[in-house]
């Protein structure tokens, strides 16, 4: 921090990737591909659990894309979870094969986001947060009024019983993993693109970014629609994983609580943080969910505590000390002259 600008050109070079990130990127990709083999070697319970974990990851990555990169804290992403799940129900009722319906429902949720964007993107900060929540509540009320969609009592996904249970779990698992990898790939692409820098400028100071000529509107729109797609997919997959939904639970604000927890604990605005946060949340959920209210109090305190005292999350601890990065999504300075004791300094 204290180094003057004068010595930078001589000793430092701006780099995107290093040997470390190249190795870790390749390892991550290999791990992602290897995960497709899980249904061949593990029990159905494990497959279903991992599906749940991947859905959490999708949600965390999407919420982080909105808040961590776009600076938009949404308390209403459950609108897209619900629309994804109920669009799946609607499509299967109209003779669309269930897994195709899951994919189409995610697209439908993205379209819903396109429609809502002009309305909600007018709002900023807390107004956007509560405004998006109102949309989710409105959709929940509308769905509860529709008897064909099961009304307030909920509805089962039919059509999947055509598959043997193990096969069904495997298919759901593969689709979930594929969508997760697709979304992660999209986020990496976004961050490596010029847009990524612009996005982080918006997050840091939207007005300043706009004053510097960053066109914030299209970028925020893109993220909003991406998050609509991802959360819609997560809702449809939750339905495919559990086979039954109720409007008050799939449209419930607890989803936002989970997303905020995962992203804040893992590290908001980082690529790796939400994934780490999702894994931690998944483990906590396994261990403590039975404690109900006490567990939720703990989640609330931890999330608020991270926001106040460790705003960049757990990932920042190894990342800052070891300059650890799994993917080449940032810029950093590297000394041109290798010195044994030299530490790289992040910009």
């Amino acid at each position: 921090m204290t180094s003057t600008s004068a010595d930078v050109p001589a000793l430092w070079a701006v780099r995107r990737s290093s040997t470390g990130t190249r190795i870790s990127s390749a390892a991550l990709l290999a791990a992602g591909v290897a995960l497709f083999a899980v249904p061949f070697g593990f029990a159905a319970g494990v497959v279903q659990q991992l599906t749940t974990l991947f859905i959490f990851m999708i949600l965390a990555v999407m919420w982080n894309a909105l808040a961590g990169y776009g600076g938009q804290v949404s308390v209403g992403q459950q609108a897209y979870l619900g629309s994804g799940a109920y669009a799946t129900i609607f499509l299967t009722q109209h003779a669309v094969p269930p897994y195709l319906a899951v994919l189409l429902a995610a697209v439908a949720s993205a379209l819903l986001a396109v429609l809502l964007a002009p309305l909600l993107l007018r709002l900023r900060g807390g107004q956007f947060a509560v405004g998006s929540w109102v949309v989710a509540e409105t959709l929940a009320l509308l769905v509860a009024l529709d008897a064909d969609l099961g009304g307030g009592t909920g509805i089962s996904l039919r059509g999947l019983n055509a598959y043997a249970p193990n096969l069904r779990r495997a298919y759901t698992y593969w689709i979930t993993l594929a969508i997760l990898l697709l979304l992660l790939g999209l986020v990496v692409y976004l961050l490596r693109h010029r847009m990524g820098v612009a996005l982080q400028a918006i997050r840091d100071d939207e007005d300043a970014a706009a004053a510097l000529g960053v066109r914030t509107g299209p970028l925020k729109f893109g993220l909003f629609v991406l998050a609509g797609f991802g959360c819609g997919a997560a809702g449809a997959l939750t339905l495919a994983n559990t086979l039954f939904i109720q409007p008050q639970s799939i449209f419930g604000v607890q989803w936002t609580a989970y997303m905020i927890f995962m992203v804040l604990v893992g590290g908001i605005g980082t690529f790796e943080g939400p994934i780490l946060g999702a894994i931690l949340f998944f483990l906590l959920q396994q261990q403590f969910a039975q404690y109900g209210a006490g567990y939720l109090i703990g989640l609330g305190i931890i999330a608020a505590g991270f926001a106040l005292y460790l705003p960049r999350g757990l990932w920042s601890l190894p990342a800052d000390r070891l300059h650890l990065r799994l993917l080449p999504v940032g810029y950093h300075l590297q000394r041109r002259v290798a010195r044994p004791s030299a530490r790289r300094s992040d910009v």
Binding site: G125, A129, V134
Partner: protein
């Protein structure tokens, strides 16, 4: 006649929403934050009043009078312990922190009081049940009138204080430019603490009126936050009289919706809010508030 009744009841219900909206509007105006725990704080206040009322066997209004000092102190503490730190963390941090607080309060109440639905209507006697029967169709409940009158007094009184008292001027000056306020000797944190205490106090009043008016349980907070927010946006952010109008518009929309079909009540309020947001007026409301 049915419609006139709906409008009158909506007007009175609007008083309740304006009370809920008052504190949210004040904190947004002074500190530029939306307190996502606002509804839960109101419900916490309602539970405190409920405890006092049932333990001491007094009227809810006396219970409210006893609970208010506690809640005001809680408001001060909230600013100095949590909000002050979150304000230093940038624009997103207060949202995330108050959302966490909302979850903690809801589940804390759930632990302490169980999920049972409660009401203070029973202990309020004729106040909650009595009404003036004007015609066979139209009656005006005492409670509705008292709620609306309280809302007018609170919002009007707050408006007058902001305009004409020393601490009101400090609050307006800090809202406009807290750094410069510090340069003339006004500590922003003290002003914010006062604003938070007032917001929590008015929320407690709102929560008590809700509890007398209908029922409440530990998870009632978010709905009240949403209604309060809708009232604030409909009425135009940053204006306390606008907040009163917004509350009334929301109340009337809900009672008219309910007259068509009880299921449409809350939905009609949401659609009214979204409609106003979509209108050209909505755009101007928002841009004015973000400058």
């Amino acid at each position: 006649m049915n419609w006139i009744n709906a409008v009158v009841q909506g007007l009175l219900l609007g008083g309740l929403y304006a009370l809920f909206a008052c504190g949210l509007s004040l904190l947004f105006g002074v500190m530029r934050i939306i307190n996502l725990a606002h509804g839960d704080i109101a419900v916490l206040g309602a539970f405190l009043v409920w405890s006092i009322t049932t333990r001491a066997n007094v009227s809810p209004l006396l219970g409210l009078a006893l609970a208010l000092p506690v809640m005001l102190a809680l408001g001060y503490a909230l600013q100095y312990t949590v909000l002050a730190r979150s304000l230093r963390g940038g624009t997103l941090t207060p949202l995330l922190v108050t959302f966490g607080l909302s979850i903690v309060i809801q589940n804390g109440l759930l632990q302490a009081y169980s999920p049972d639905v409660r009401s203070l209507g029973g202990s309020a006697g004729t106040l909650s049940t009595g009404s003036w029967h004007l015609t066979a169709q139209l009656s005006i409940p005492y409670l509705g009138v008292l709620t609306l009158a309280t809302a007018v007094l609170m919002l009007g009184g707050l408006q007058l204080c902001l305009r004409h008292t020393g601490w009101g001027r400090e609050m307006r000056a800090t809202a406009l430019d807290s750094d410069t306020a510090a340069l003339v000797g006004v500590p922003a944190s003290a002003v914010y603490a006062r604003a938070t205490a007032i917001a929590v106090g008015v929320a407690t009043v709102a929560g008590t009126f809700l509890a007398v008016h209908s029922t409440f349980d530990p998870s009632s907070g978010p709905t009240q936050l949403i209604f309060a927010f809708e009232a604030v946006v409909i009425g135009g952010l940053g204006s306390l009289w606008g907040t009163l109008t917004g509350g009334i518009v929301l109340g009337v929309a809900q009672t008219i919706g309910a007259t068509i079909d009880p299921q449409y009540s809350i939905l009609a309020g949401h659609l009214d809010f979204l409609g106003i947001l979509a209108s050209p007026r909505g755009r101007s409301l928002i841009t004015r508030s973000t400058t």
